[in-house]
Structures are given as C-alpha cells and as structure tokens.
C-alpha cells in the first residue's frame, strides 16, 4: 500500500490528543486548577489542528497508515467544520460551566477527545477506523452529556444516549461484518474496487449490510426513526455540549455516511438510495411536525437539528459531486446557525439558569433588541429565508437532488420547511411582537466568549448568505475525494 509511513496525515489529530493529555496532566498535577487557561489551551489546539490540516488541502489524495486513513480535500473541509464547531463550543463553555462549578479540565479534555474521534471519522478510509472513531467520539460524548451529574435530566440524557448509542454501535459493527463477509476486506477503496466489477452482485446479504450500516450511521446523524435519543439528550446535556453534539457530530456522521455509501458503495446505490430517500423524507416531515408542538426552546432546536439531518440526507441521496458539495456546504452553514441558536439560548438568562420556555421569550426583542435580532437571524437561517446562508444551503441541496433525477425529494422537503418555518418564526413573533413582562429585566449572560461565538456564527451565516458562491466553490474543491 502506498504511503504507509505517512503518519503526518494525522498530525492534526495528534495535536488535539496531545492537548487533551496535557489538560489531564495539568489537572492531576495542580488539583482544582480552574480558569480560562483550560479553554485557551483547548482553543489553541483546535486552531493549530485546523492550520495543520490545511497542508492537505488541494493535494493529491493518498492513503496512509496501511490504508486506515486517507488525506484528501474532503477530509480537510469536514475537519474544518468539525474543528470550527469544537472551537465555537469551547468559546461558549466557560461562561456556562463556571457558575455551575463544572469548569474542570476533564470537560475540555473530553471535548478534545470527542473532536479527535470526529475528525478521524472524517478521514477514515477503512470500516474498522470508522468504528473506532465513532466509539471514541461516542464515549466522550456520553460522559459530556451527563457532565452536570447533579441534575436528573443530565443523567437521563447521558443514560439514554449511552444505551441507544451502544445498541447502534452493534448495528454498525454487524453491517461491517457483512461487508467483510461479502468482499473480504474492510478497506473502503478496495470495497469500491470489488463492488464496481460486480463482486457483490451474487452476495444476497448486501442489502442487509447496507441497511445495518445506514442504521448505525443514521443514529449518530440523528435521522428519523433513529432519533429517539436526540431530544432528551439535547435537552438534558449542558448547552455548550448540546451545541457541540448537534453541530460537530452531525458533520462527522455525514462525512462517514458519504465516504461509506457514496465513495465506496456506489455499485449498490439501487439498494441504499431508495431507503435513504425514505429516511430523509420521514426525518424532515416528522421532525418539523413534532417541533411545532414543543414549548421548550432547547427541545424545539433539537427537533430542528433532526430535520436538518434530513436535508443533508437529500444531498447524500443525490450521490453526485454536486450532492457531496451541497452536503458539505449545508454542514458548514448548519454548524454556524446551530451553535449560534444554542448560544443565544445560553445568552438569555432567567435568574441563574437559561431561558428555555418559549413563553418567557415574550418581549425579549423589545428589552434586548440586538441579542434577540441575532437569535432571529439564526432562526431565519434555519427556516431558509433568503438573505441568510440557510437559504443557499437548502438551494444547493435541492439543485443537486433535481440534477440527480430525484425531484420529488425537494418537493417534500419544501413542504416540510414550510411547516418548520412556522415554529422558527413563532419564536421571532413572540420576541418582537409581544409585550415584555414588567417584573423581568431579562439579563444577558456576561461571558465574553459566548458573545464572541455568537458573533462568529452570525458572521458565517451572513457571509454564506452574501457570498454563497465562494463557500460553494470551496466545497466543490473538496468533492474529489478518495484516491
């Protein structure tokens, strides 16, 4: 195998793991060492990793470490989205953790380890690597979801995510075993080579294999009907973790889904395309309808994140270069608006806790116009209203689906987003068109990191809205993936 010694492909991951170990050692050597330096170390590691990953941008794709990982532009783009989500979540974390006495080094170490799992998933070119990466990110996230362990909801979030996550890992592993049974290899590039010459034509369990893989990865991407854990986990987890889980995990899961289905199993597209199309339609329609009934803003955003998984799924169903580019573009915009929206929930305080009930948002736009306007910007972007990045992200996804002769998908998706627009805009209506209660002065969280994260997210949402061509051309450069 060429490039076996090229371990430098994983330099970004090594930096992040190194920083995680450093954080744990600092914590062990200086007990009770708390403060902003933990977040600073985390941020520096994530930024350094992003810069190191840039080295692989535009270069020829090559396999490394015995074919376990691949360095290509697709991996770099997906890593940037994941690292960006990690960095934004890190910015929001200190302001949330400190008042709750949770700002321990373990939190940042776990965040870095979860990020490592996700970026490894983005560059994995072997099903074994896919599995290890998913386990790494999951184990870290299970703990992070229950980090506020005094709270009952946090325990519920962690427990549910853990039990269902372990279950879905078994599905994924079973699928990997079937693929191995049919092809005799777990390497994605070799699987493609074998499948493209009809090597799987006689393998009657190929459909089962693809179904099991789709279940395993669909769980991590939180697509209906594998979404059951999502609302409870997102609601119970500390909000910075929720933002991180929602944004980064989805990007990583879809990167893996694209690599496994579009890159290595195009020969079986008649097996997986209709199934995935059904899942995406179910995801968009179901999540949009259920979200309407939510009164808890965090839960509403959880269902909204589920429905976004459906939109990215449409781009995967298209199974073309423009589909992959649209998926990457969508994930980029989605990351910014998700972190922005959850960040806004953290920003609006109610006493010492967050403002989660939608009725408590009435008049927020009158008392805190700037913050409420930013929250409305993220909501409008999620709804896909034109001057924002969310509109273009959906546009490119629909365009890719139509070009792939799947025009019925955008039709259903548009119907779904009309339903979804209702609950996004309802929050804006409550904020700006209802009178504020006189006994509530609606304080904002003073944390500077949180404001910075919301500001950066808003810039990305507006930037992708004004210059979508620039970001799309980056995403298109990242579609030549796999050697």
């Amino acid at each position: 195998m060429p490039g076996t010694e090229a371990w430098t492909v994983l330099l970004p991951e090594l930096v992040i793991v190194g920083a995680a170990i450093l954080l744990l050692l600092v914590d062990a050597a200086v007990p009770e060492s708390r403060g902003p330096h933990l977040a600073v170390i985390t941020l520096v590691a994530l930024v350094v990793a992003a810069v190191l990953a840039f080295d692989q941008w535009g270069a020829d794709a090559q396999l490394a470490l015995g074919g376990m990982v691949v360095s290509d532009s697709f991996g770099v783009f997906a890593r940037w989205v994941i690292l960006g989500a990690g960095a934004l979540a890190t910015l929001t974390a200190p302001g949330y953790l400190k008042p709750r006495n949770l700002d321990r080094a373990e939190f940042y170490a776990l965040l870095l380890l979860a990020t490592t799992g996700m970026t490894l998933l983005a560059v994995a070119s072997d099903l074994v690597m896919v599995f290890i990466a998913i386990e790494l990110l999951s184990l870290a996230l299970y703990v992070m979801a229950g980090f506020e362990r005094g709270r009952l909801e946090a325990q519920e979030a962690s427990m549910k995510y853990f039990l269902l996550g372990a279950f879905s890992s078994a599905f994924l592993l079973y699928g990997i075993a079937f693929v191995f049974g049919g092809t005799g290899t777990t390497n994605l590039i070799r699987i493609r080579a074998i499948a493209s010459v009809g090597g799987l034509d006689d393998f009657r369990l190929a459909g089962v294999a693809v179904a099991l893989l789709t279940v395993g990865l669909g769980f991590k991407a939180a697509m209906v009907p594998f979404h059951m854990w999502t609302p409870d986990a997102y609601q119970g987890a500390p909000t910075p973790v929720t933002a991180f889980m929602a944004a980064a995990t989805k990007a990583a899961a879809f990167a893996a889904l694209i690599r496994v289905l579009v890159l290595s199993l195009p020969a079986l597209r008649w097996d997986w395309q209709p199934v995935l199309a059904g899942i995406t339609v179910l995801t968009i329609v179901f999540a949009s309808i259920v979200a309407v009934a939510q009164t808890d803003v965090k839960r509403m955003l959880a269902y909204s994140s589920i429905s976004h998984a459906g939109f990215v799924g449409i781009a995967v169903v298209a199974a073309s270069r423009s589909g992959v580019a649209a998926a990457l573009m969508y994930l980029l915009v989605y990351t910014a608006m998700t972190v922005g929206a959850f960040g806004s929930v953290m920003l609006f305080r109610e006493g010492q806790s967050e403002r989660v009930h939608i009725a408590k948002y009435s008049g927020l736009g009158i008392k805190r116009p700037a913050a409420a306007a930013l929250f409305a910007l993220f909501l409008f972007s999620m709804a896909g209203i034109p001057p924002t990045g969310g509109f273009w992200a959906k546009w490119y996804v629909f365009f890719a689906a139509i070009r792939a002769d799947q025009a019925w998908l955008p039709i259903v998706a548009v119907a779904g987003s009309v339903i979804a627009a209702f609950f996004y805009i309802r929050v804006a209506v409550v904020m700006f068109m209802q009178d504020p209660p006189s006994d509530d002065d609606m304080p904002l969280d003073p944390s500077p990191g949180l404001r910075m994260a919301i500001g950066i997210s808003a810039l990305v949402v507006v930037g992708t809205g004004i210059a979508p061509g620039f970001f799309l051309s980056l995403a298109e450069k990242a579609t030549a993936f796999g050697p």
Partner: protein
C-alpha cells in the same frame, strides 16, 4: 453461491447440538438422581465457605476504578506481547511507537494518581 450459505450450516448445526446437549444433560440428571434435599445441600456453593448475606448486594462504586485500571493494563499487555515477538524485524519505528504507547498509558496512570484515585479512603 449456495455453497456460501451451506458453509454456515455447520454453525447452525453446532447451535442445535449445544442446545440439545444442555437440555439433555439437565433432563438426564433429573431422571437419574435421587432427590433428598437438606439445608446444607440447598445452601449457595461458594468455594466451600458459607456464603455471607444476599447476592443482591451493591458493590462499592469505587471498584469501577480498579476495573478501569485493570482494563488499561490488560490491553497494554495484549499489545506488548505480539510486539515483543516481532520488534526486531520492525526496527526502530516500532520501538518508538511502543514507547509512545506506554508513555501515554503512563499519563493515564499519572492522572489517576493525581486525582487520588489510588487511595482507598
């Protein structure tokens, strides 16, 4: 292609044999043995010593640390043995890799130590 599935028939056959063996053995015991129960016979067998308390007892939560550390060092040994057999062929790269691996595990131990996990208090 049917050969492929036939080759798995042995697995199914084995499962049936195992099931029959288990059920059959217990059934044969029941038919053949004399039944004269007394208190001694009905008590729980635990290495010949009288069992203390009920089996539904909550173990001390601190044991999970030992379970963790055990797994860590067990896995280390798992990797060290095959490495020790072949490292001469693999050369310097393998030595450096293994040193890194052990050092990272050592960091884990140092972290556990620093968090006073190793003290029973």
């Amino acid at each position: 292609m049917t050969d492929y599935y036939v080759s798995y028939a042995a697995v199914a056959l084995l499962a049936v044999v195992i099931l029959l063996f288990g059920v059959g053995t217990f059934a044969a015991w029941r038919l053949l043995r004399p039944q004269r129960p007394n208190w001694e016979k009905l008590s729980i067998y635990e290495c010949g010593i009288d069992a203390v308390g009920e089996s539904w007892k909550q173990p001390n939560v601190r044991y999970y640390i030992f379970a963790f550390l055990f797994v860590v060092f067990d896995v280390e040994a798992l990797f060290l043995f095959p490495w020790a057999v072949t490292y001469e062929q693999l050369g310097l790269f393998a030595v450096v890799e293994m040193i890194l691996f052990v050092v990272i595990l050592f960091f884990g131990l140092a972290y556990a130590w620093g968090r006073r996990v190793l003290e029973w208090a």
